[in-house]
């Protein structure tokens, strides 16, 4: 599927019960480190600012929430993720505001040494978003896609846990 969407890697929500086989283009997203993390690249993801700790790689935020609460808790190198799925259901005016807030969150991330991440929030194949569509959103809100992909690649490679390990057999 990643090749179809022209993406190098796809994040997949998982817990200890996944039956997936390790693949180079998949990163598991989990709320804490499960034993299966020994066999996969993974990221610890949280959607609750209160539960944020040093082990959290990625914080999924509501784009319309107040940023001062986030600012107090974020640490350098934290990934801040915005999900596109929630924007599909918005009325036109709010969808327009959502696009404006994407740029605002990107600026917030840059000034706080965090990594801005745009994700599909897909729960099915039909909700997945191609690389070209991501780039269109970035172009429309005024973020350089080239810079975005470069920064996210560097951030992922810096995350030791997200590097592909050839696992225990």
């Amino acid at each position: 599927m990643s090749k179809l969407l022209d993406l190098d890697m796809i994040g997949v929500n998982s817990d200890s019960s996944t039956s997936m086989k390790p693949q180079e283009d998949v990163i598991l997203r989990m709320d804490k480190k499960y034993p299966i993390a020994d066999f996969f690249p993974y990221l610890i993801v949280s959607d609750n600012i209160r539960s944020l700790d040093g082990k959290t790689d990625l914080l999924l935020i509501d784009i319309f929430q107040r940023k001062d609460a986030i600012k107090r808790k974020v640490k350098r190198g934290l990934g801040i993720e915005i999900s596109i799925a929630s924007a599909r259901k918005l009325e036109a005016a709010m969808a327009g505001r959502w696009l404006k807030e994407v740029k605002s969150i990107n600026e917030f991330c840059q000034s706080n040494n965090c990594q801005f991440i745009l994700s599909s929030g897909a729960t099915s194949v039909n909700e997945m978003i191609s690389a070209r569509s991501f780039e269109s959103i970035l172009n429309v809100v005024g973020i350089s896609p080239r810079v975005y992909w470069k920064e996210i690649s560097e951030w992922l490679s810096a995350k030791t846990k997200a590097r592909w390990y050839h696992a225990k057999s």
Partner: protein, 98 residues
């Protein structure tokens, strides 16, 4: 690519995409983009044409439309696009909600 088991047929989805385009970028831009639905030979694929200049606006509108759609191929010609899509073998991709 769309969910062929969903409530909407391609022409209805096309109407929703055009409406979203108008809501986000205006009626004038929508007219200039000339979004046109073409017949697809596949049950879960729809083909929509768009002026190249407005491609970014179109993809944003498509991404922010309900029901959800996935862009699987882009091409400058209809013939090449149909060929690309037929090669993808999309019916092999299963939808596993879990």
């Amino acid at each position: 690519m769309y969910d062929e088991n969903g409530l909407y047929r391609p022409f209805q989805i096309h109407e929703k995409i055009v409406l979203r385009f108008k809501e986000l970028f205006g009626i004038f831009q929508s007219e200039l983009a000339m979004l046109k639905l073409y017949d697809s030979e596949f049950g879960n694929i729809m083909i929509v044409a768009c002026k190249l200049k407005y491609l970014d606006y179109f993809l944003v509108s498509l991404t922010l439309t309900q029901p959800a759609l996935t862009v699987v191929s882009l091409s400058g010609t209809l013939k090449k696009l149909r060929k690309n899509v037929s090669r993808l073998g999309l019916r092999n991709i299963k939808n596993n909600p879990s």
